[in-house]
């Protein structure tokens, strides 16, 4: 466990990709075999099932320390991480444990059906045996989410380094539906076995944003344009007589979308489609909020199927007749895809249309219609491009529309998490409605570190009231809020819900008297209602 705690410390402290990669590679080359597999699992989102919850951990910590609950809360809001808060609050441990990482994970998994008292005894004993840094990672195993800036890509590179296998191959090997309890690193990295695992998706090819416009991309004849959809990127796989649906987060989500089940019969064996999972009705995508109602649930109700039906808007074909065709030119893949979709002719499988255009000016005009089409901009793909692995520059670009904007005033502030712990970084904003202020959104990112410090200082000096972790502040600071979409909502006081709201800039030049009004928001809603 010490080695794992050290790894986490290095990874979370370092800001340099190379150092992180070194630390990971070194760990992968030296650590206990079972520990290595678990580290791979943890950093690729395969956390062990949660057998103890955060409330239980908090309660046992309170019992052990004798602190009042409000003070515990105060500490949590300052640290911004539950696992770390508890590690810091517990009395010094004995630091006597020699058990490896996988021992602790196995023990935690075995608690699944245990009585609460058994769980408590185990956790308290673990806390007693571990030192502060080990306790932190132990708690993290339970609460999840290490958030230490290790991307899938970095993990892949570290393994490629250690095992001397090309990164793209590793990427494929470690994707898909494997269980660290049932396999070994050797098995996972053994290609024959990999091939037998029919469910594996291909690593997604992701595009960078086109910042300046398409002029420098060369002649339009070399490019294909498509609408960029605001759904869930996914792959549909038919292999070994089974259908698998994967999200970009490499989550197997087949069960959530029964609409796709007819495709099991219709798709030929050995097919992999890349496309967008969207809620879709009458030939038009529905707002993202409707898709959200489908994500969080395992069992879909009939009502949901009626109100938020999904379709798959396909835009690429990665495997055809059992052959990996990712290196074939997009143009050819597209032709096969179009024939396939036409032949299958099922409402759940659609083609994401290609946009016909003759010059960049014409395309720019199409882009301005994106919102009316229910899309968030355009995708530009080179006709001769291969389907690459991960985010790559050059052949694919996303060219999104400018966000909608509203100038609003900050009315509440709350401390952030992780790198932003103990800093007021989470804000709630309001627009004017007569002489009232109506809150309409929260927004986080978008300010520089310097601006965040400035706002943080201001919040500390200008709070009016404190509700738990939230401070009400003088309505004085004005920000421009950008968002991708707007929908009616009866869950919010303002009557609207925004899609991907964020701070675009701090409008120090603008007095509160000049911020936007609720009427302005309602007008945006009318204009962009789908």
């Amino acid at each position: 466990m010490k080695e794992f705690a050290t790894l986490i410390r290095i990874l979370s402290n370092s800001t340099k990709t190379n150092e992180k990669l070194d630390a990971l590679s070194k760990y992968m080359a030296t650590a206990d075999a079972a520990d290595r597999l678990w580290v791979l699992a943890l950093f690729t989102g395969r956390r062990p099932k949660r057998t103890v919850n955060a409330t239980q951990l908090s309660n046992w910590c309170l019992q052990m320390t004798g602190l009042p609950a409000w003070l515990y809360e105060e500490c949590y809001h300052t640290v911004g991480d539950l696992a770390e808060t508890i590690a810091l609050l517990l009395p010094p441990g004995k630091s006597i444990s020699v058990h490896p990482l996988h021992y602790w994970i196995d023990q935690l998994i075995q608690l699944e059906k245990a009585e609460e008292t058994t769980k408590q005894t185990f956790i308290l004993k673990a806390w007693e045996e571990l030192d502060t840094s080990e306790r932190f990672v132990f708690n993290k195993l339970i609460t999840g989410g290490f958030r230490i800036g290790v991307s899938q890509k970095m993990m892949v590179n570290a393994l490629a380094d250690t095992y001397d296998i090309p990164a793209a191959t590793i990427s494929h090997m470690i994707s898909g539906n494997w269980d660290p309890q049932k396999t070994t690193m050797e098995a996972l990295l053994n290609e024959n076995i990999t091939e037998a695992d029919a469910s594996k998706p291909f690593p997604f090819y992701l595009a960078y944003a086109l910042e300046t416009g398409p002029a420098e991309l060369g002649t339009p004849e070399q490019w294909q344009a498509e609408w960029k959809w605001d759904g869930i990127r996914g792959q549909i796989i038919k292999r070994n007589g089974q259908l698998f649906v994967w999200s970009r987060g490499e989550e197997l989500i087949t069960e959530k979308f029964p609409e796709y089940q007819p495709l099991l019969e219709l798709l030929p064996e050995g097919t992999v489609l890349d496309g967008e999972i969207l809620t879709y009705a009458n030939g038009f995508p529905l707002p993202f909020q409707t898709l959200q109602t489908r994500i969080g649930r395992k069992n879909v109700t009939r009502k949901q199927l009626q109100e938020a039906p999904v379709a798959f808007l396909s835009y690429d074909l990665l495997e055809w007749e059992g052959q990996d065709i990712r290196t074939t030119a997009l143009q050819e893949r597209r032709e096969l895809l179009e024939q396939l979709v036409e032949k299958i002719n099922h409402p759940a499988l659609r083609l994401s249309p290609a946009i016909t255009f003759h010059d960049w000016g014409e395309l720019a005009a199409f882009r301005l219609q994106a919102r009316e089409k229910g899309s968030e901009g355009l995708m530009l793909k080179k006709l001769d491009s291969a389907y690459q692995v991960g985010r790559k520059r050059g052949d694919w670009w996303k060219w999104k529309i400018d966000p909608l904007t509203i100038d609003a005033v900050m009315i509440y502030a709350q401390k952030g998490h992780g790198r932003r712990s103990n800093l007021y970084t989470d804000y709630t904003f309001a627009v004017r409605d007569g002489d009232q202020l109506v809150s309409f959104t929260k927004a986080y990112s978008g300010l520089t570190d310097k601006e965040i410090n400035e706002v943080d200082n201001w919040v500390k000096r200008n709070s009016l009231e404190k509700f738990g972790p939230v401070r009400t502040v003088k309505p004085e600071l004005v920000f421009e809020i950008g968002f991708e979409g707007i929908a009616a909502s009866n869950r919010h006081k303002s009557g609207v819900a925004l899609r991907f709201p964020r701070i675009l800039r701090w409008r120090k030049d603008k007095p509160v008297a000049e911020i936007n009004t609720l009427t302005d928001l309602q007008q945006l809603l009318q204009m962009h209602k789908q």
Partner: protein, 341 residues
């Protein structure tokens, strides 16, 4: 009896007509220690501990009117007795005890209870009312013994040497820097320091403090001088071009705030050491209880939480607003370090 009052200029004693650590110019100022948020420019007369006198002169000018006092020495103003008592925060730091009749109030200034070897041993002063700082007044802030921290720092320096890197540590130039130098004097062949640290350091050596010889970094210092050595800079040097000359280097930050990972990650440091000159949670509670005070005012830090906790545990306490360094004192102190040049 309200022996001390909280006014918009600072903590005021009406009977004695003097202020303690005022943040605006006043006639008579009693100063707990020489940090810039406590010792400000512009007052007519200053009173502080003997060892703070020259530090005050260094920072506020040689021409200030300043009187020194020894720990425990009693000075009377208008029938009010003032005495200074060790606070253990930095060299020359003191708590201020004020007695009017039988009523005793103590202002802690900044303090820590662990003896760092140069700043004196914090001494609890029995009183009726105790005004305490609580920069780290949450139970997540409990420090490891300094022996452990210094051993970790030494290990880190050695690891850096093995990796072919110089070791740069950032720490408050008055207080933290001397404490580091006192404890790490032999960690590398030479120790190099920024002028903001070198100047008070030389002054303290002249005054007879047992501090090691260090070298001042100038634009002419060759890069080879830093090889394998320890370099100490003020926190404001972070992310500036001044740091480039130390390449290849690893950056360590010494501050109580390093206790929390998020804080450390914000600093873009390679290592954080939770070494503080402020009392930790246990130290604060211990200090408050040892005074036997019936009433406590908390200021400077997590004051509302600390006051509530004390009150719930039988010691009536109340938060007061002062203008001493906010909770990020050790993190963002550009004005302090430039004053110290």
């Amino acid at each position: 009896m309200q022996v001390l009052q909280f006014t918009d200029k600072g903590i005021y004693c009406p009977a004695g007509d003097f202020y303690i650590d005022p943040w605006q110019p006043v006639e008579r100022a009693v100063i707990t220690h020489a940090h810039s948020d406590h010792a400000r420019y512009g007052s007519k007369h200053y009173l502080c501990h003997h060892d703070s006198v020259y530090l005050l002169q260094l920072r506020l000018g040689q021409d200030i009117s300043v009187q020194g006092a020894a720990f425990g020495e009693v000075i009377r103003y208008n029938g009010v007795s003032i005495s200074l008592h060790p606070a253990g925060h930095i060299i020359g730091s003191a708590q201020v005890r004020v007695q009017q009749g039988n009523e005793v109030w103590v202002f802690s200034g900044d303090y820590k209870v662990e003896n760092d070897g140069i700043s004196g041993q914090f001494e609890p002063v029995p009183c009726n009312t105790f005004i305490t700082e609580c920069t780290f007044g949450l139970p997540i802030y409990n420090w490891q013994p300094q022996a452990v921290i210094f051993s970790n720092i030494r290990q880190w320096v050695h690891d850096n040497q093995a990796a072919g890197k110089n070791s740069v540590i950032l720490g408050y130039s008055l207080g933290k820097a001397q404490r580091l130098l006192y404890h790490l004097r032999d960690v590398t062949d030479q120790i190099w320091a920024h002028g903001a640290i070198y100047i008070p350091h030389q002054l303290l050596r002249e005054k007879g403090w047992d501090l090691p010889e260090i070298h001042r970094i100038t634009p002419e210092t060759p890069a080879s001088a830093y090889k394998n050595n320890l370099i100490i800079g003020p926190p404001s040097a972070a992310d500036t071009s001044w740091m480039r000359r130390f390449n290849p280097y690893a950056l360590g930050v010494c501050s109580g705030w390093m206790q929390v990972r998020g804080h450390m990650r914000r600093r873009n440091a390679d290592a954080g050491f939770a070494l503080s000159d402020h009392a930790d949670w246990t130290g604060l509670l211990q200090a408050v209880r040892a005074t036997g005070a019936e009433k406590v005012y908390t200021t400077h830090g997590f004051s509302s939480a600390f006051a509530r906790y004390l009150t719930e545990n039988g010691i009536p306490a109340q938060e007061v607003k002062t203008e001493y360094g906010d909770t990020d004192e050790e993190l963002n102190i550009p004005e302090t370090t430039s004053n110290e040049q």
